[in-house]
Amino acid sequence: MTMPGSAGWEPTAAQAIIDQLKSKPGALLPILHAIQDRFSYIPEEAVALIAPALKLTRAEVHGVISFYHHFRTHQPGRHVVEICRAEACQAQGVRALEAHAKATLGVDYHQTTADRTVTLEPVYCLGNCACGPSVRVGDEIHAHVDAQAFDALVESLKTERVEVQ
């Protein structure tokens, strides 16, 4: 999920995703995942396409999107950096890491850095509990992340070549 979705909004692609998945039982979550994986967030325009396809109101679709922490309705930065806030990471010093991350990035949770490189999110457990503090970027998990390792990680994200879609 390293943001393939810097792609702009494409209604025909979204409609194709919806048409492919809408007949599954309980199709809404699979559709929302597929939309977010493609566009990196769930644009308002997508809700307008999903609702009639599933015979739901737009309010119902909104209700589901807003219930789940994973779904977002605004374009994130190029990388979403998730810090595990849960107890096992607390026991290994994540509170200090959180403070450091917020201070160095100049953002709070759910915010994006001014250069649009990083969106910072909290996460409750990545299952890497014996080797915390844990940080997830895309589908990669990082172990034993202290302030120094965090800075190096962010630096690598900043200098990473932007893929041309």
């Binding site: 699979p30 107890e87 026991a91 509170r95 509990c129 014996a130």
Partner: protein
């Protein structure tokens, strides 16, 4: 004839650099002209030794760990692939490492041994024997075997699995479902993840047997979105299973059908509660349902549904292969079989410890865990996830058993053990429990939705030294209201860590000025 080298591939091993290491070994072997075959196993989950590189020898597998890329030169110089060589990272025979040798790995027998996605490996290690047996049995006999094994739900509630299956078997319906709860959200737990990443065929086999037992033809694995590798491995294993008639309309030529699909959650802890999970699978907000009706009667899409944790379903192939008695012979009292404990947090030797019920928490934390990672005194231990109590030293001799833990007001839950050293501020931990509930409550019932918010506020006032005695009493009342009045375990158990912190670590609530946990924990 070349040598075979195993490099682990689970999330934690990868997080510790196993992928880079595997590539580096391959490159170096090529450069040196050494004939090495690199295979990717799952993990033994002896995490302080990861990446733990193993090599095949006629006497068994020799291990080296934790291996960094900078160690490779000396490992190659020592010709590590021969196994029994002299090197500072040499661990000897892996299965002789006491941490592993002292375990009873029934469910995790294959973890770290096999290539997770190799059907051949799985079959060579007793895979699908349970399913083959089940195909020859009538459903009631399968259910009876699970009952006799004494298996209780490993998700935390410890309800007898066989009785749940019986209810679904008895419910008449055209369509029934098997739902695997893989929303392993408890901090300090990773056993479900290990099953799915390291031995996914075992879960497929267990779910298929469950389908045969109760007459369900469709299964869903509800997997949390925080586990991307588990998603990849499960889907790859399911595809292989379909291609080999282990799933689909004619399982192993029996004419019996079972279909299986992975559905990914979306970051809601509450969806680990079974009725919330079912709502989510139906494509809705994960609001908890009132019970009754039980999901076994009115479950997914209104049909009779078995909802079982990953570990419960993963235990089933063993039971059907080796027999109910072989499983029930382990354990104590009403807790039969094994529980895969997970040592996490500030622990020297973190990892998975599968044990028959019975040893004490202290043995687990010190004889296996080796105490804290930074060597400081251990002060508090949270067992059973964010809804589990914090145990002070006076309770560490409690035996690892569902009933023994209940007696001291604690829970075993999903077997997660999170250790904290003496710098932990228990007032802060109690506040976090309430804060977590604010973030994760589904919002359906008032005690949970409002109670948790009020809980954070009251704890803040206590920590600020504001009318401490009065506010502590208010917090006690609030906890009682949440325990008694909440619809499900989220609101009903959030007070457990809070109450235990107040009871056993009361000084942290009344004397907050001397603690500065943020700076103290930096040294960990």
């Amino acid at each position: 004839m070349g040598y075979r080298v195993h490099v682990p591939s689970d999330t934690t091993a990868k997080a510790l650099g196993a992928d880079r290491l595997a590539r580096a070994i391959e490159a170096l072997a090529e450069e040196m002209g050494d004939d090495l075959e690199i295979r990717r196993n799952g993990t033994r989950a002896l995490y302080w030794l990861e990446p733990l590189v193993e090599v095949d020898t006629p006497e068994g597998r020799y291990g080296f760990g934790p291996v960094k890329e900078s160690d490779l030169e000396s490992l190659f110089a020592a010709e590590f692939w021969k196994g029994k060589v002299d090197h500072p990272l040499a661990l000897g025979l892996v299965e002789e490492i006491p941490y592993l040798k002292r375990q009873e790995r029934l469910t995790f027998a294959r973890a770290g041994v096999t290539d997770p996605l190799s059907l051949e490996d799985y079959r060579a290690h007793d895979g699908f024997k349970g399913l083959e047996n089940a195909l020859a049995l009538n459903p009631q006999v399968i259910v009876d075997m699970v009952k006799e094994s004494g298996l209780r739900g490993r998700g935390g509630a410890a309800f007898p699995t066989g009785i749940k299956w019986q209810t679904v078997l008895n419910a008449p319906a055209d369509q029934k479902y098997i739902v695997c709860n893989a929303d392993e959200g408890d901090s300090g737990t990773f056993a479900d993840r290990l099953v799915m990443e390291c031995d996914p065929f075992m879960l497929i086999e267990g779910m298929t047997i469950a389908g045969l037992a109760v007459g369900a033809t469709q299964g869903y694995i509800y997997l949390r979105s925080e586990y991307p590798l588990a998603n990849t491995n499960l889907n790859a294993a399911i595809e292989t299973a379909y291609a080999n008639n282990l799933l689909g309309e004619d399982i192993l030529g029996s004419g019996q059908r079972f279909d299986l699909e992975v559905r990914v959650g979306a970051g809601a802890y509450i969806c680990g509660e079974e009725t919330s999970l079912l709502e989510s699978l139906e494509g809705k907000r994960g609001l908890v349902r009132a019970k009754p009706p039980l999901p076994a009667i009115v479950g997914l899409f209104g049909q009779p549904t078995v909802v079982n944790n990953v570990l419960s379903l993963a235990a089933v192939p063993f039971i059907l292969d080796k027999g109910a008695k072989a499983y029930a012979d382990c354990g104590m009292g009403r807790s039969r079989g094994t529980l895969p404990f997970q040592l996490a947090g500030n622990v020297k030797q973190g990892g998975l410890v599968e044990l028959a019920f019975g040893p004490s928490l202290r043995e687990l934390m010190f004889e296996f865990g080796g105490g804290t990672r930074n060597g400081r005194p251990l002060r508090a231990v949270q067992v059973g996830g964010p809804l589990g109590a914090y145990l002070p030293e006076s309770q560490w001799d409690t035996q690892l058993d569902y009933e023994e833990f209940a007696k001291v007001g604690a829970v075993l839950g999903h077997g997660g053990v999170v250790m904290f050293d003496d710098r932990v501020d228990m007032g802060e931990q109690a506040r976090f429990s309430m804060e977590f509930c604010v973030a994760e409550s589904c919002g359906k019932c008032t005690p949970c939705r409002i109670g948790s918010t009020r809980g954070v506020e009251v704890i803040d006032r206590i920590r600020a030294g504001e009318n401490v005695e009065g506010n502590l009493e208010l917090l006690s009342d609030l906890c009682e209201t949440m325990v008694d009045g909440s619809l499900c375990a989220m609101g009903g158990m959030t007070p457990f860590p809070v109450q235990s912190a107040m009871k056993h670590f009361g000084e942290d609530f009344t004397n907050t000025s001397t603690k500065d946990s943020t700076s103290a924990l930096e040294e960990v």
